[in-house]
């Protein structure tokens, strides 16, 4: 697959077309699966890895429910290309950084991706825009069921789907939503909310998963337990908690509008101003400022921009995307200059030229 053609289009999950997409960026489910006839990854030989990938690719090619899939050889891809796929959320950091034969198959809408030789032999992932966990489950369940007729999953009647790490055993399912919660962060209520979530066995992570900081006020909420509850129960549990968080965020926004309107408008406008005029800018600062602007658009403080365009800016200003867009490798200082240039072009496109 040619990565260049992905660069100029937008994954479906970024289009802000789903329900509540002003606050809920995306809904995602992943399934961990292993093949019965091979040892798990840490005991798999190089030859095993090659065979696992071949077998899975052959089966995935026969799938009818996800549309045509394209294959990408991750072990042959260079660092920038692997990072590019991580930024688009098509592969995990674990798959990008590990060694040996490994790959991914992706459908055209970039909603379904199947990672081969990740922590488990197979990780199936499905992602939709906005709050649509039931839709995601319906789609990923079809893919998984069809695939289970074509390959021999490691499954045990008592323990369920057998996984390399016992934290995933049973359903092997991780249900997560990515939320944009700038007002909760600004009013410093976010810690309180997270402590409450952890009490009910939900994990909170940053934009790029485990260990990543909550950059740009994006937070991922997901289930931690995978055994003893059905997949639909787990989907419902996460689905139930999201409207509560949306409500908190909306109330925090109302509070800011009512009580600190001037201050809020000032912060949003300054953020927008810097993004439109800066000559060099880091990835962190960009995320931070884009977050303010995103909220500003949702609150009607900035009218000439829309959310899909802003979502795109979040991804396109990531290091590997910038380099793919530019068509060459760039070191950090050059990336910061390129990022500022890209933002100026994008954000001054529709209004009077300011650059």
């Amino acid at each position: 697959m040619e990565l260049r053609k992905l660069t100029n289009r937008l994954g479906e999950w970024l289009r802000a077309s789903g329900p509540e997409s002003d606050i809920v960026m995306s809904s995602r489910i992943r399934l961990a699966r292993n093949l019965a006839e091979f040892p798990f990854m840490n005991k798999a030989s190089d030859a095993d890895r090659v065979e696992i990938e071949k077998l899975l690719r052959g089966a995935i090619d026969k799938l009818s429910c996800a549309g045509p899939m394209e294959y990408l050889n991750v072990s042959d891809a260079d660092t920038v290309d692997r990072q590019f796929l991580v930024e688009r959320q098509l592969i995990s950091r674990e798959l990008a950084d590990s060694r040996g034969a490994r790959g991914v198959m992706i459908n055209a809408a970039e909603q379904v991706s199947l990672m081969m030789n990740e922590e488990d032999h197979l990780r199936i992932q499905c992602m939709h825009s906005g709050l649509d966990l039931r839709g995601v489950w319906a789609q990923i369940n079809d893919v998984d069921s069809e695939l289970s007729k074509l390959v021999n999953y490691a499954y045990h009647p008592r323990w369920g789907y057998l996984t390399a790490c016992p934290t995933n055993v049973g359903t092997g399912v991780r249900v997560s939503v990515m939320l944009h919660l700038p007002a909760l962060a600004m009013t410093r209520q976010i810690e309180k909310v997270f402590r409450a979530l952890q009490k009910i066995s939900h994990a909170v992570r940053g934009l790029y998963g485990e260990g990543s900081q909550a950059m740009g006020d994006f937070y991922q909420i997901s289930n931690q337990i995978t055994l003893g509850r059905s997949e639909t129960e787990l989907v419902e549990q996460v689905s139930d908690v999201v409207p509560v968080l949306i409500d908190y965020e909306r109330r925090a926004r109302e509070f800011l509008i009512k009580e600190r309107q001037q201050n809020l408008h000032d912060q949003v406008s300054r953020a927008y101003g810097i993004l439109r005029t800066a000559q060099t800018i880091s990835s962190e600062e960009t995320m931070h400022l884009l977050s303010r602007v995103r909220m500003g658009i949702n609150l009607g403080l900035i009218e000439e921009l829309n959310i899909p365009h802003l979502n795109e800016l979040f991804i396109h200003t990531q290091p590997a995307h910038l380099q793919k867009l530019r068509g060459q490798e760039l070191d950090t200082p050059d990336r910061n200059i390129e990022r500022a240039k890209y933002l100026r072009t994008q954000l001054n496109r529709d209004s009077d030229s300011l650059s």
Partner: protein, 171 residues
């Protein structure tokens, strides 16, 4: 008042209560955010396992018992319990049988349950013995091919196929 971390004006004043003493902290917005942010979130996956291990260690097992347990190995993939404890990853599906006694309390600790109630694959090989057999046969077949013993490899391939065809169809 200036932020105690940088030179910007302090807009957040935090009172920390610890052990009966209270401490006043003064930060600008950025530094306050850093201060209040949770530690890099690792507890999610690896942490659940680590805390389950820690709890297990408190269950009155002596050091001797623990070191004996650590040396136990899975007959199929050869992983020792110590290796698993260190890496947090199992070596093959048979480990769930080979270490069942040790894994059960660990899994109960992580998930609060010890029985799968979710979906089943459309077909699967009944019983872990058959699963183990599949791994063993495939390994032997590879060895046979390596030794250019194609007759034996062919026989093994038939056996694998037979086992897979006996897979339980659940749909």
């Amino acid at each position: 008042m200036k932020c105690q971390k940088c030179e910007k004006p302090a807009t957040f004043h935090i009172t920390e209560l610890e052990g009966g003493k209270h401490q006043e902290l003064h930060f600008c917005e950025e530094c306050a955010k850093v201060y209040l942010a949770p530690p890099a979130n690792q507890e999610a996956e690896s942490g659940a396992l680590a805390s389950a291990f820690a709890q297990q260690a408190q269950l009155g097992q002596t050091a001797e018992e623990l070191s004996k347990l650590d040396q136990q190995a899975c007959p199929v993939c050869g992983i020792t319990f110590l290796e698993f404890r260190n890496s947090g990853r199992l070596g093959c599906s048979h480990d769930y049988v080979a270490f069942e006694k040790e894994l059960e309390p660990l899994i109960a600790n992580i998930h609060g349950e010890t029985k799968h109630t979710g979906k089943q694959p459309q077909r699967y090989t009944e019983g872990t013995e058959a699963l183990t057999e599949l791994i063993r046969l495939r390994r032997e077949m590879k060895d046979a091919i390596g030794q250019e013993n194609y007759e034996r490899a062919g026989k093994l391939r038939d056996q694998i196929k037979q086992l897979e065809d006996h897979s339980k169809t659940t749909s």
